[in-house]
């Protein structure tokens, strides 16, 4: 089993959740060590989904222990995200692109994403950015496939409602 190939995927997930490069790397490495500690895991399904589950739990644990959320979004224009950064929803799974990379459509989408709940953003991110299938998302988030489909549909509908029609024509 070659675990090195999964490092980038787990790191990306941790980064999107924690929005902090150094912390994301720490949590990624802890994820791999925890995975290796659970030696009984051998031959039990795909390791990637299990790694994601460990990473998710570690991120949640970290947030619970420190009771702090990232104060600002890395590489992002604070004027765009300032409202979200100080909201109770936090900024986990907020877009991370630098402002110079944003187009008009992207800015609208960023604002629309900020109106979603953290779990909806997580599902959107897992599905469309990390390209996991609903079954894998369900395993990671401890949800049934049906619930994942329903939440995805709801999140997309919310996004569409937020976006002006002309931005996506």
């Amino acid at each position: 089993m070659n675990l090195e190939e999964y490092y980038d995927d787990i790191y990306r997930y941790c980064f999107f959740r924690m929005q902090d490069r150094s912390l994301a790397e720490d949590l990624t490495q802890e994820t791999f060590l925890k995975f290796l500690e659970t030696s009984t895991y051998h031959d039990r399904g795909k390791p990637l989904a299990f790694l994601y589950t460990i990473a998710r739990n570690l991120c949640i644990d970290h947030i619970r222990h420190t009771k702090t959320r990232p104060e600002s979004v890395i590489n992002c224009d604070i004027s765009i995200f300032s409202d979200a950064a100080h909201s109770s929803e936090g900024t986990a799974f907020s877009p991370t692109a630098s402002v110079s990379e944003l187009t008009d459509t992207s800015i609208v989408l960023v604002q629309a994403l900020q109106t979603l709940s953290e779990s909806d953003r997580e599902i959107i991110c897992l599905r469309y950015v990390l390209e996991l299938n609903p079954g894998e998302i369900g395993r990671i988030m401890n949800l049934s496939r049906f619930v994942v489909y329903r939440r995805l549909k709801r999140a997309l509908k919310l996004l569409k409602n937020q976006l002006r029609k002309e931005d996506f024509q």
Binding site: L33, L36, S39, R139
Partner: protein, 269 residues
């Protein structure tokens, strides 16, 4: 309308991907070279594992004895029915009603049932969780036991098949219809039941299905249906192919389900 929706979704996905950018990890190589990771990996990933042959041997001991006995009984019955004492005129006349392959076709569903029952043993006794905490995963154990029994059944059927044209005066097509078809049919019908039901209900239903298949083949022979089916060109090979593929697909689903069970227990444990 649909095309527009697809375009919108593609654009949304593309824009989302461009929004989520990640700086490259800095400590990846250092981590995989570190002593902490190497020690943990050496202990778990590269620890000496039991070889497949030894693993199969250990699993062979867990298969219940009556399973082997049943195979032996069917084989012995096939041989005995072929032997000389049975070929005397009186029993021959009695046996003419039911020739050897037909008697075997009535027994073979129970051979398939025994194999399926062995596979579903952990589920029947609610032992999956215990098996999961053992050294080998339920998935591996299931594959090993089904593999052993499958090979054993295959050997038995492969031995019985040539006996037909040689000793029982039936052609290959009829022998296949009497030996392979009941086996595959029972597997195809009982595996979904094993997947969907648990406990006593599952046992009763599987036994019922096997008995029905057994009775079906006896009546099919008595009503001359089997002989007519054999006379229809390509019907028996097509039926064998159909039920063979169906049985393999069902088996695949069953093994996959055992992996899902593993996941559930891993997440809730």
């Amino acid at each position: 309308m649909k095309r527009n929706h697809f375009k919108q979704k593609t654009l949304l996905t593309k824009t989302l991907r461009s929004l989520y950018t990640v700086p490259a990890p800095e400590r990846k190589d250092t981590f995989f070279q570190s002593s902490d990771y190497r020690a943990a990996a050496r202990e778990t990933l590269y620890s000496p594992r039991i070889s497949w042959s030894v693993f199969l041997q250990t699993q062979m001991h867990y298969i219940r004895k009556w399973n082997w006995l049943l195979t032996l009984c069917i084989f012995a019955a096939a041989i005995l029915l072929t032997l000389h004492p049975w070929q005397t005129p009186a029993p021959q006349e009695q046996l003419q009603e039911l020739s050897t392959p037909v008697i075997l076709s009535a027994c073979i569903p129970f051979l398939a049932l025994a194999t399926i029952a062995e596979a579903g043993r952990s589920a029947r006794f609610g032992m999956e969780e215990l098996e999961l905490s053992a050294r080998f995963s339920l998935h591996a154990v299931l594959c090993a036991r089904l593999g052993i029994l499958g090979v054993e059944n295959l050997l038995l059927l492969a031995v019985l098949m040539p006996l037909g044209p040689h000793f029982w005066e039936t052609d290959l097509s009829m022998t296949a219809a009497c030996i392979l078809l009941p086996y595959l049919l029972t597997c195809t019908l009982t595996l979904p039941a094993v997947r969907k039901l648990r406990g006593r209900d599952c046992t009763i239903l599987c036994t019922g299905i096997s008995a029905l298949v057994s009775v079906f083949f006896l009546t099919a022979y008595a009503a001359d249906f089997l002989t007519r089916a054999v006379d229809t060109p390509a019907l028996i090979p097509a039926a064998l192919l159909f039920f063979g593929v169906a049985a393999v697909l069902e088996l695949r689903k069953y093994i996959r389900q055992s992996e899902e069970l593993t996941w559930n227990f891993t997440l809730t444990g």
